[in-house]
């Protein structure tokens, strides 16, 4: 009985974790469908974003930019400014990585690109360790009290509400972009058929830049939100989430960003709810098991295409 009583609370944790996994998954899915490879550096793009935000926040605090917390939240103007700039700078850094590395290897096929993404992952993580050490860094050390919602039998912190809201707003924005803008439509077209996109006159290089920018921007957001939720960040932050992200992407149907959102949410919730029944140590195994079952039962995923 006590176990079941915990489930509403675990669902809340699951939605928070699922929001972060989903934001990471959108980028993995876009890179897979448009550039044709599994990007193992995506988790480290998240960590990069989290550390850029930390660096800027520290700088802004030093410059005297106001950082008093907004209302019940644990952060204020200085941090939000660092957050937004970190999204842009991460996108820029990833576009530069593409120009220097992935673009040169574009014709070499998916295996080479995937292997080189592992190299990028290790490189980025070590750069972060070099500058910030492997030790955790804190966005905020203040203790934030959770608010009880008695009717639902849950407790939730204002920061956690913020995380969920940011994820919802970004998912809606990504949807609108993909559906209604010329570049969004071109991204879907290129995911359908890259050769035909080129034959049609679509500027495929520009589509690729946008793909990286959106994927990396969302990765940075996911990394920073993970930092807000956990209170601290380490260079391993994204790499540790990569399994859950890939599981979510595969579950939803690789190559379909909507699948990545759905899959990420299911993985996040499953991982948290599983702790009511089995040891928390098995959380990563839950993601693994769901991914393997999905690959056995329906390899194209929940929202995957049949072809």
């Amino acid at each position: 009985m006590t176990t079941l009583a915990h489930i509403p609370q675990l669902l809340v944790y699951g939605v928070i974790s699922g929001s972060i996994i989903s934001l990471g998954g959108i980028g993995v899915s876009l890179t897979y469908s448009i550039l044709g490879f599994s990007n193992f550096a995506h988790g480290d793009f998240m960590a990069l974003g989290a550390y850029i935000a930390l660096g800027l926040f520290t700088l802004f605090t030093g410059l005297g930019i106001p950082s008093a917390p907004f209302g019940p939240l644990s952060f204020g103007f200085g941090f939000i400014l660092a957050f937004i700039l970190a999204i842009g700078l991460t996108a820029l850094a990833v576009i530069i990585i593409d120009r220097l590395l992935f673009r040169q290897l574009r014709r070499s096929g998916p295996i080479i690109l995937m292997m080189s993404s592992i190299g990028v992952a290790l490189g980025l993580r070590n750069i972060l360790q070099f500058f910030w050490s492997p030790q955790p860094h804190y966005y905020s050390q203040a203790i934030q009290p959770a608010v009880s919602v008695t009717a639902l039998n849950i407790r939730i912190k204002p920061d956690q509400v913020f995380i969920i809201l940011v994820a919802i707003v970004l998912v809606v924005l990504v949807h609108a972009f993909m559906r209604y803008t010329k570049m969004g439509k071109a991204m879907r077209a290129m995911a359908d058929n890259a050769t035909l996109a080129q034959v049609t006159g679509i500027n495929t290089d520009r589509v690729i830049i946008w793909t990286w920018a959106i994927g990396a921007g969302l990765a940075a957001t996911a990394g920073i939100l993970a930092g807000i939720e956990n209170k601290f960040i380490t260079p391993e932050l994204g790499w540790q989430m990569l399994l859950s992200i890939f599981a979510g992407v595969v579950l939803g149907g690789i190559g379909n960003p909507y699948g990545a959102i759905l899959g990420g949410m299911v993985i996040g919730i499953s991982e948290e709810v599983s702790t009511a029944f089995i040891s928390t140590g098995y959380k990563p195994a839950v993601a693994f098991v769901i991914m393997i079952i999905m690959l056995l039962v329906k390899p194209t995923g929940l929202l995957g295409r049949k072809d």
Binding site: K182, K185, A186, R188, A189, A191, D192, N193, T195, L196, A197, Q198, V199, T200, G201, I202, N203, T204, R305, D307
Partner: protein, 234 residues
Amino acid sequence: MSLLTVEKVTSGYGDMEVLHDVSIEVKPQEIVTIIGPNGAGKSTLMKTIFGLLKPILGQIQFADHEITSLSPDRIVRLGMAYVPQVENVFPSLTVRENLEMGAFIRNDDFSDRISEMFELFPVLGRRGRQQVGKMSGGERQMVAMARALMLNPQLILLDEPSAALAPNLAEVIFERITAVNETGVAILIVEQNAKQSLSLSDRGYVLAGGRNRFAETGENLLANEEIGQLYLGG
């Protein structure tokens, strides 16, 4: 004056030569058909003209431009369009979105052109918001042609437009091809089963074993007994 000139082109995949010394020509507003058995190199020729394959030897000119080593996205801008044989539409996009992609390089308002395409292909006009992946083979072929026409090309390359279509549907497609030609667009078609295509062509070429075999008017190719037996199924 010719619109497209392919001069002694040798081309293929990597070290494997598929075309040897092939020469063809398309004049403005003509319909030209290239026929030949499976494996004759017809699709290879199309891909080479459109810059998807680089010729090993030879030259290609289009509308007073040397296009021998240009990439497809540059060739599109010069006024040529290409409809591949298979996978020639964006299946997850709607009909209208497919046409919008055809006009990607245009930054002005091209809604008039979309209306023109819907007049030329009335079936599409009624189904602008439908996802193309859920449409029939004949309808997809029309989406592919309309997409290729969005930039008002002078020449459009059609790779086996009637392949895998039922005979009555093929007839509809060829009737639409004639209608497109009447708007002033030159058309280069490659076909395996080519009677229908030759009958509406100004001229035709026979390609076999990667080489030019015959070049004649469409009528004369149809009337030629040897060609009839060898390439048109008697």
